[in-house]
């Protein structure tokens, strides 16, 4: 086994080597670029220096909006966080005579608190409504700045003291801050935590099934984004020397989003490209003062019509079009590997061996009942799944099979009864925690992140199984080893489910069968002990089904327990060791496939009045 694993690593060695070298070059370029940006204003006029400072501040905020957007939120309220930071510094420094440096941590905390409030709102309210809440939030902050005259001096505004005599020094500080914001938005998608954001954006239910605490993650990303936006606001106040509520109107938040839109949503360079183009625009349009906002409005619409993915997205597409000609054709391998990358370790085997001595079931449902209003979907179901077995759940449409899977994976709460996994009562345990305990699942209709590649989708599954802290992910070099491991594991898993060529293909370009297999790979990445497959064979051709049978057999060989929901009898006949039949939410039979196919109750459930038919035939 060890030999095979090393072989797999050996094949990928050249790729990793290349990647590593490119990273060093990129680092050099980044340092040189930063140095060039730092000295650039020394050779330009004061005006250019001011302009560059503003471009960097706006670009940073847009980058932070972008980061919040990774989780699927389009914020039109970052002007509010920005204002909170600016006013925190201005009030503390001007009204209370505090040192400006000391106000920065306060701005960070104030921004974080505001972000947390919107974060909590994001738990209750989804997508569009959340965007509306952010708009309302921005308006409230601006109106409060106007109304709380004793603190903010109302519409007349507040002076903000200088931080340095030389504006270039301030520029350097802001450049470093902008570099940090850029780095976060650039590096986050390459970390475990960042991938979990994209998983949430794609589908919260499947994110939970990968062990991601979606609620906590959403609050955290908004807190992070808002707190840094607060600091950006502090810099903005110092840069202007004076702030008033007028600076933080709804138009500012719109402008930020316009920058993001023009630059390219989701792209790390996009925010700064957008800021570079749109920040100087008002100054260039100074002769058309009256038409300025009109042009902004037209740009909004033009951006969506002409560059739906922004300038960066359009550039990428051009590059991509050339590259995609060389992309390998997608095909299913004839013979895939029979091993799972990290199931070869001794630790799991010994754990399982212990379990087998107990001879207790891995999963047990006792009197599980689920009602939807008056409809009883599953009624007092008792179900035991033996360790390392392949168990199937069958029944006519509406018999409660999918509901049962949803109860086991924690998406539905039980109305009555309890669920035991590996000797522990998990009835009250949430979906993401069950995933962490070792229950993985696939969905009847694959729930993948369609805009990302197959490889990235599998990588999301490693959220918990390969531990990596946010900090080590962001500092990059310590994480390189982990990222490399995740990359190798993910590729091996794609090999395991026999779609290795799909690694670089976007999910939306995969066939239905490939998506189903990809979901199995992603579920395996969470390192489960029990895997729930919801109709894995539906929509598959005969040949694809043979592949799937081999894969499921390999799962068992690697020590996993499999629970299948399936209609296809030939498929079940060659796999299932034990079959449970449901009808109208009740268990009507259980046994080997042969036993249940002779059970009169089962025949009646499937074919209705069998006897009459038989009579008629004879």
């Amino acid at each position: 086994m060890q030999g095979e694993k090393q072989l797999a690593v050996g094949i990928k060695q050249p790729f990793e080597e290349m990647k590593k070298r490119v990273n060093w070059i990129a680092l050099m370029i980044a340092i040189l670029g930063l140095a060039a940006l730092a000295v650039l204003p020394l050779f330009a006029s004061q005006y250019v220096l001011f302009l560059l400072t503003q471009i960097l501040i706006y670009g940073s905020v847009v980058a932070l909006i972008n980061v919040a957007g990774y989780s699927g939120l389009l914020s039109l309220g970052h002007g509010g966080f920005f204002a909170i930071g600016a006013y925190t510094t201005a009030i503390l420094a001007t009204q209370y005579g505090q040192n400006v440096w000391l106000t920065f941590p306060v701005s960070l905390v104030a921004g974080a608190l505001a972000g947390m409030i919107i974060g909590f709102a994001s738990l209750r309210v989804k997508s569009l409504y959340l965007t509306m809440i952010t708009i309302a939030f921005g308006i409230i902050i601006q109106k409060l700045a106007e109304a709380m005259e004793s603190l903010t001096n109302g519409p007349r505004g507040l002076a903000v003291p200088m931080l340095f005599q030389n504006p270039w020094t301030l520029y350097l500080v802001i450049l470093l801050f902008a570099a940090l914001c850029f780095w976060i938005s650039f590096q986050l998608p390459r970390t475990n935590w960042g991938r979990s954001l994209f998983a949430i954006q794609g589908d919260e239910i499947s994110a939970e099934s990968m062990g991601i605490n979606t609620k906590m993650t959403k609050i955290l990303v908004l807190t992070l984004s808002a707190s840094l936006t607060g600091l950006a606001g502090s810099f903005f106040g110092i840069y202007l020397g004076y702030i008033s509520p007028e600076h933080f109107g709804l138009d500012l938040s719109f402008l930020f989003v316009l920058m993001l839109l023009v630059g390219g949503i989701g792209d790390p360079y996009g925010p700064f490209v957008g800021s570079l183009i749109l920040t100087p625009l008002p100054m260039m349009l100074v002769w058309f003062q009256d038409y300025q906002l009109l042009i902004y409005g037209l740009l909004y619409i033009a951006a969506i019509y002409l560059f739906p993915k922004g300038i960066m997205g359009t550039l990428k597409k051009l590059v991509h079009r050339r590259a995609s000609k060389e992309a390998p054709s997608v095909s299913i391998l004839e013979n895939g590997p029979e091993w799972l990358p990290f199931y070869t370790g001794q630790e799991d085997k010994s754990r399982r061996a212990g379990g087998e001595e107990d001879a207790g079931p891995l999963l047990q449902l006792r009197g599980a009942t689920k009602r939807f209003g008056g409809l009883v979907a599953v009624n007092a179901l008792d179900l035991s799944i033996a360790n390392n077995s392949i168990h199937a759940l069958i029944g006519p449409n509406g018999s409660g099979k999918s509901t049962t899977l949803n109860m086991i994976s924690g998406i539905y709460r039980l109305d009555e009864g309890d669920i035991w996994f590996d000797g522990e009562d998990v009835t009250g345990v949430g979906a993401f925690q069950r995933s962490r305990m070792g229950i993985a699942r696939t969905f009847q209709a694959p729930r993948l992140v369609n805009d990302l590649t197959a490889l990235d989708n599998v990588k999301m599954g490693f959220y918990r199984s390969v531990k990596e802290s946010i900090l080590s992910g962001l500092t990059y070099f310590p994480a390189l080893g982990k990222e490399k491991m995740i990359d190798e594991y993910a590729r091996s898993l794609l090999e395991f489910v026999r779609i290795p060529d799909s690694a670089r293909v976007q999910v939306k370009n995969l066939t239905f069968a490939e998506r189903k297999l990809l979901e199995i790979a992603r579920a395996l990445a969470t390192r489960p002990r029990l895997i729930l497959l919801d109709e894995p064979a539906s929509g598959l051709s005969d040949k694809e089904m043979e592949q799937l049978i081999e894969i499921v057999k390999n799962l068992k060989r690697n020590g996993l327990t499999v629970l299948l929901v399936e209609h296809h009898m030939d498929f079940l006949a060659s796999l299932a060791e034990r079959v449970t039949v449901l009808d109208f939410g009740r268990k009507i039979a259980e046994g080997s496939i042969k036993e249940i196919s002779e059970d009169p109750l089962v025949i009646q459930a499937y074919l209705g009045q069998q006897e009459e038919l038989a009579d008629g035939a004879s």
Partner: protein, 294 residues
Amino acid sequence: MSDIIQSLAAGLAMGAIYALIALGINIIFSTSSIVNFAFGDLAMISTFISFSLMSTFHVPPVLAVLLSIAAGMAISLLMQVVVIRPIGIHNLENRFEWLLILLGISIIFKNLARIIWGPRPRAYPNIFNDSNVTIGNVHLSTQELWILIVAIAIMVIIEWMNRSTRLGWAIQATSMNKEAASLIGINPLRIISYTFLIGGGLAAVTGILIGPVTFLSPEMGTMVGLKGFSAALLGGVGSPRGGIAGGFMIGICEALASLFLPADYAPAIAFGILILVLLIKPTGLFGRTIIEKV
């Protein structure tokens, strides 16, 4: 005490305005899943058109009002084309491009108005004679009374349309399921266009009703529109009756708050209520909860 009743009456009139906007936003949303963010600005543009017709071209008030309603409908239909063209009518609820396009349209409207009519607020000619009606010891201006009468009449007409006309049924079928509606011979795009037309007319009526109360200015639409939108959210987007209730609630809360707090706080209060309600009941007060099927 009479203070409270007096501001309740004023709040009722403003609430009727918000309710009308919520109604317009809801009817467009029900078929297209688009929340018309530029609704307030559309109301503003229509009001300015009726203003120009009356003061510059000396068109009789009734004709001017009818013409501006027609203009509101036409502009609304144009908006529908601009918004839906790049996206298509399917899966609109999961896209945000339309939101950004509408923001762009809102900015354009505001600045077109500024260029054409200037940034200064103007007084809107009072179509009804400027007098007060006294009921008990509560004074209502005729305008406020008219707002209530017209708003309630429109609400009744829309309710009747939804219940008893073929168009109303087609709108409901489209809002339930566009694909299924097209299978029974309904053209969803056409029904969406009808709702944009109705919405545009409502926007114009709302603007004309509110014109004499607030002054005419390019900015007048933004806040009123946002509050009308809040009313729709408060009642649950897609629920016409909820939107009406939400509108009256916001109007009354605002009026009562102005008794105890400086006027500067009023907008913060309206949106504060919105955030609070959404946090407690995300689907709005009258919205239905949808269980996602896995």
